[in-house]
């Protein structure tokens, strides 16, 4: 059985890594759902001045033609000016890279950031696009056919879980 790292510890570790890099132009966007939870945690830990942005990439997915629109898209909220900002784009698990491509396309419809850095809790490999993360909590080898997801307990505690792709 694969031993998964503790999400809470990875979160602390990412915050420590990011803290010296945060400047006046830094801003953060979390991707629903897991990335939003992580960003909601990291944002106050880094003391960012700009309010947190949350994004649902449902309208930018590349599998709409095959799978249609997902059922409960959340409303994207970017409450700061993207133009010229140094963006920290936050997601829970980096896999194919397709979500990140879609997220970058959506971000550019809000403006032209000075830079985007990708922050992920876990990189599980398996990239299908030329995308890499700048800040990674942990690298985990996940067997094919399994899905690695972030869960949020009622207490607010974040944990990583492995489940069969067929079950979802």
């Amino acid at each position: 059985m694969l031993k998964l790292p503790e999400a809470e510890r990875l979160c602390e570790q990412l915050a420590a890594e990011l803290r010296p890099r945060v400047g006046p132009k830094s801003a953060m966007v979390g991707l629903y759902t897991g990335g939003a939870w992580l960003a909601e945690r990291l944002h106050p830990m880094l003391g960012l001045k700009t309010p947190l942005g949350l994004m649902d990439i449902a309208f930018y997915r590349d599998d709409y033609a095959a799978r249609g629109l997902k059922h409960d898209p959340k409303r994207t909220k970017i409450p700061f000016d993207v133009n010229g900002s140094e963006l920290l784009l936050v997601d829970d698990v980096l896999y194919s890279g397709r979500t990140i491509r879609a997220a970058m396309n959506e971000l550019f419809d809000y403006g032209r950031p000075a830079s985007i850095s990708l922050v992920v809790l876990v990189d599980r490999g398996g990239r299908q696009l030329p995308i890499c993360a700048q800040h990674i909590g942990a690298r985990v080898e996940v067997p094919p056919g399994m899905r690695l997801t972030l869960k949020k307990q009622d207490s607010g505690k974040l944990t990583l879980a492995l489940e069969s792709e067929r079950a979802t």
Partner: protein
């Protein structure tokens, strides 16, 4: 049992023909999706790439400005290509049948047909004959149904009142000839609004309207008491000629929404109207332009709702 013509074999929305018969989950899916699209319409770049490469044909066999324009804006914001056909001055006058018109447009590789027709049921007929990848959206058929207007009314109510439980909604005026009223009544009862009232003269209320689950009032003051939402319907001028009503002045006296009648509703009541308005006939200008009026926001929400409907059907 015959399958609901609007749903595919997986129970997903394939065509939007009528609110009647749509399950609660699908109504909520449309409203929730529209909520996300409302965010897109507030951005600087008001466009998403969802329907890139798809063609939307606006087939209007009956004149319309607002509905056709908002469908066009919605399709363009989804990056679709839009072709507007004003059929009243086109092939129909040359004798081409409805299905022949549609077959020709289908040969031009249509993905979505937005249809308005003076005959009730025309969009249903088209939906039965289109190819599996083609989708039909009813933009108003006869007196029967106007589902996207009903949905934008529901969206507006939910936007201002948060949810439907505990709401009293009054629909006032010419319910008999209104496709908007029917769509809205079905939507409200499906989403659990506890009290839906219709208010109007006997001659403008359909016989047996109570069967739709509404309370009937002929006295507007009685009907408006403690309402949360007041939906005014347009009085069509031709009704006066049809001897259903004595005169516009007489109608306004009894069923026109004025500030003093509105004062009988709740203090935070909202006033809606599907447009186009007849000021001084069904609604007084002080109310139409007053603090309770959400008539213009309705138009804006209509774009997000139509974006939601198009992107849901085209993906199924």
């Amino acid at each position: 049992m015959q399958r609901n013509p609007q749903l595919n074999e997986k129970g997903e929305l394939q065509h939007l023909l009528s609110i009647e018969g749509l399950p609660r989950e699908i109504l909520l899916q449309i409203l929730d999706t529209a909520e996300s699209f409302a965010g897109v319409t507030e951005r600087e770049v008001k466009k998403v790439p969802l329907l890139r490469g798809k063609s939307v044909f606006n087939l209007f066999f009956e004149p319309s400005t607002r509905t056709r324009t908002t469908f066009e804006i919605a399709a363009k914001r989804l990056s679709a290509d839009v072709i507007n056909l004003n059929i009243t001055v086109s092939s129909a006058t040359k004798g081409e049948s409805l299905l022949d018109t549609v077959a020709n447009l289908s040969a031009m590789q249509a993905d979505i047909f937005v249809v308005r027709h003076e005959s009730s049921g025309a969009p249903f007929l088209i939906a039965r004959h289109v190819k599996p990848h083609e989708h039909v959206i009813n933009a108003g058929d006869g007196r029967h149904s106007h589902p996207t207007q009903g949905l934008l009314d529901l969206f507006t109510i939910r936007h201002y009142k948060k949810d439907f439980s505990g709401l009293t909604v009054a629909i006032v005026g010419d319910v008999l000839h209104s496709r908007v009223a029917r769509s809205l009544i079905h939507g409200l009862t499906t989403l659990g609004a506890p009290e839906v009232r219709v208010i109007g003269p006997q001659t403008l209320l359909p016989a047996g309207v109570e069967a739709l689950g509404v309370r009937v009032f002929h006295d507007m003051r009685e009907g408006l008491a403690d309402c949360d939402v007041v939906v005014m319907l347009r009085l069509q001028n031709e009704r006066m000629r049809g001897a259903l009503l004595p005169s516009a002045q007489e109608y306004f006296k009894h069923y026109g929404l004025t500030a003093d009648k509105l004062a009988l509703a709740k203090r935070d009541a909202i006033v809606m109207h599907p447009g186009p308005m007849n000021r001084g006939v069904e609604i007084d200008s002080t109310v139409a332009d007053g603090p309770h009026s959400v008539i213009l926001p309705q138009v804006t929400f209509g774009i997000a709702v139509r974006m939601a409907v198009m992107s849901i059907v085209a993906g199924n």
